[in-house]
Subunit: 251 residues, 4 copies
Amino acid sequence: MKERPARVRWEQRTQRPLFVLAFAFAVAYAVPIVWPDASRDVERLCTTVEWTVWGAFALDYVIRLLLAERPAEFVRTHWLDLCAVLLPLIQPLRLLRLVSTLLLVGQRARVASQIRLTTYVGGSVVGLLMFGSLAVLSVERNSPNGNIKTLGDAVWWSFTTMTTVGYGDHAPTTGLGRMLAVGLMLSGIALLGVVTANIAAWFIARFEKDDVEERRQTAAIAELTREVRALRAEVAALSPPVRDEVEEQRH
Amino acid sequence: MKERPARVRWEQRTQRPLFVLAFAFAVAYAVPIVWPDASRDVERLCTTVEWTVWGAFALDYVIRLLLAERPAEFVRTHWLDLCAVLLPLIQPLRLLRLVSTLLLVGQRARVASQIRLTTYVGGSVVGLLMFGSLAVLSVERNSPNGNIKTLGDAVWWSFTTMTTVGYGDHAPTTGLGRMLAVGLMLSGIALLGVVTANIAAWFIARFEKDDVEERRQTAAIAELTREVRALRAEVAALSPPVRDEVEEQRH
Amino acid sequence: MKERPARVRWEQRTQRPLFVLAFAFAVAYAVPIVWPDASRDVERLCTTVEWTVWGAFALDYVIRLLLAERPAEFVRTHWLDLCAVLLPLIQPLRLLRLVSTLLLVGQRARVASQIRLTTYVGGSVVGLLMFGSLAVLSVERNSPNGNIKTLGDAVWWSFTTMTTVGYGDHAPTTGLGRMLAVGLMLSGIALLGVVTANIAAWFIARFEKDDVEERRQTAAIAELTREVRALRAEVAALSPPVRDEVEEQRH
Amino acid sequence: MKERPARVRWEQRTQRPLFVLAFAFAVAYAVPIVWPDASRDVERLCTTVEWTVWGAFALDYVIRLLLAERPAEFVRTHWLDLCAVLLPLIQPLRLLRLVSTLLLVGQRARVASQIRLTTYVGGSVVGLLMFGSLAVLSVERNSPNGNIKTLGDAVWWSFTTMTTVGYGDHAPTTGLGRMLAVGLMLSGIALLGVVTANIAAWFIARFEKDDVEERRQTAAIAELTREVRALRAEVAALSPPVRDEVEEQRH
């Protein structure tokens, strides 16, 4: 892409401070939910931190847009970021601020080339677990028929949901809680499936025995490579004399 | 296939009107279930719309059959469509009309070459969710021991079933509801599995790091390609002088 | 294998009668469970049919053993059949007779070369569903805390278990019922997973769009094939003149 | 690796005695949980056996560390073993002793080259089932709201969890029990998934029909191999006369 120089340098330089802000957001989001009896001052502070972090990421989006060589293309390929920036302005709900900031953090994390896939997937799973639990807890705690009343229950529910075990000892009962649960299911099952598959691969890894078809295929390619190598050797053995001959005849 | 010209032109021209009819059917099916206190006139209108849409798709099948160059082969390869056309004539049940129309819409959607795989799978999942929820709701609502009494519960139940989470806070209790659930399970789990796998792939996509064996295999092919390319260069270097030589000797 | 002639002819000739016997067993096993108020005569008849079918399959095993050219090897590679033959002699329990006969039928079905994979997997799933439901029903019906009391509940439970949905509205409570459930889970989940994967593939099939990596790999091979084909054309263009030349020089 | 000789000989010679000790640990861990009314002497004996087995594995780690040619590298690549050795010294809890010894046994089992993948995965699944059940039982039995009170319930719960069926008829209610459950879920689902996939493969194995794409790919490689083989034959047919010619011309 042509826009590399300026934008990429900005993205690399702002990576660490934005990560620190993301962590601050996580704390500011968790505190009023985990500690519901907090004083009004603490609550106000947390809200301020949330708005600040969202603002910093929104500003980061605007700066990246200005630094982009083709702004129209940047807006088109980053429409999800734009939505995340605009959403809390239209509806200043706490939940929308959470989703927006998570989206902006996720989009930025994907840009950071130093982050490895394992870290990204692991971080997403932990983030989904944590924010999914907290959001469902804050929604369900006040529901009269709700059964997710403590943080422990919420985390346990997230875990049994993302592994698709689904005991049903805890389940959201409100419409909003269920919408959050559907989001958590779709993304959480997908990502925790990747984690589980990696754990299975880790158990198996040191045995270096792949499944039959895979092996057969690799064997086919290996056989083919041997074949071509032999062919090449033959052609190599064939070519120099011919050239000599040609040269001899030319002189 | 030889039958392309006439039939394919018909299929392309009727695509949009049939899609509009399919949408009308969705509305006509949903209204009396979501709004059970609707007046008799509304109910009668909905039934008329349902029969009309089914009729249009049945007519479409007949016309495609007449336009087909080999009608016998068309009937054999589209036996599912034939069943869907005949079923509501034998048993004019609402549920059979739903299944028939869904089948006919699905078969036609697959023919439409403009529809992409993502749209098709996504549309099928949304359709299964919506019609599965509505059908189970209409069946379970009147069951004395049933626990699926509102549309929200029905959609939530569909979701927890298709993701195989299965909390068990809501589950069909009647024989017909369970038969619908089995159909939803088999097709829904299969399709939502595709969606979840795609979400996982989307998360991972931008990292372009594949699992080990895949990489090893691609590497093997790449190595082989280099090998062959080198061989070809050698042969290319070898061949012109030989030809020259041959030509020289011929003169 | 050397034992083909005699044994294989026997296996092909007995295939149909044994299939009929397997069907008779299914009926004889189901009747007393589905119809618990049946007269003693019906029950005695069913038991006789069960013993006869098991006996026929046991006899089939003995005849195949006698027809085998290397009996020792046959016993070693068919130890599961031997267990299935001997088990009901040691413990004449109804459940053991069921497991034994199912094993013998399954082993014979795998030998029959006319049966296609889809039929085999589908038949196994239906068989596991049916016999799993019946066996769990017969065990759980008499349990005081049991919640699987009707055939409908048993089939529904089998289905929600094999799809891993597991609502928990019905679950075995006795030790024997749970052991049956574990067997059903391990084999049923494995097989119904194959069925679900096939349904997903059937939905996707007509679009012929594979996932990215698969396509990239196939593309790599295709590119390589083009490369090699070009090389071959070059070599082919190269070789005849050389031969001519050689022949010319020899003359 | 350079450290082979001394360390590998030690590992091979100690394999069997350590396996016997691992079995003794399993018994010593199970007895006080399965038989809660055991006399104090039995309990004290079991604790002694547990400590002895852990000590033996810790000693094994120290000896392997001393035998390693590069101790620093050995510590770095076996940091999990080091944790497992040190943990019970810091916190002499029974549960930590279990996790530590399991980790040490698992790490040693992976080193043993005689153990095949199937045995390793199968052993891990059985081990996870058994120790997971016992640990959760010992934690949940004393919980007032707990519903896992007997060994049968615990094993049944482990099974429904590891298959992700999750009926919810039994589920841990204490924080410690849930943490154990999360560990069991992540590792158990991963490993039992491997087992289920193998069962499915075993059902399908004798039919030797692979899925379409796999076959198409192998076919592509096979076609390519044929192509290359033909090419090689051509080149082979081409090369000897040329050499003869060259030799003739040189003389």
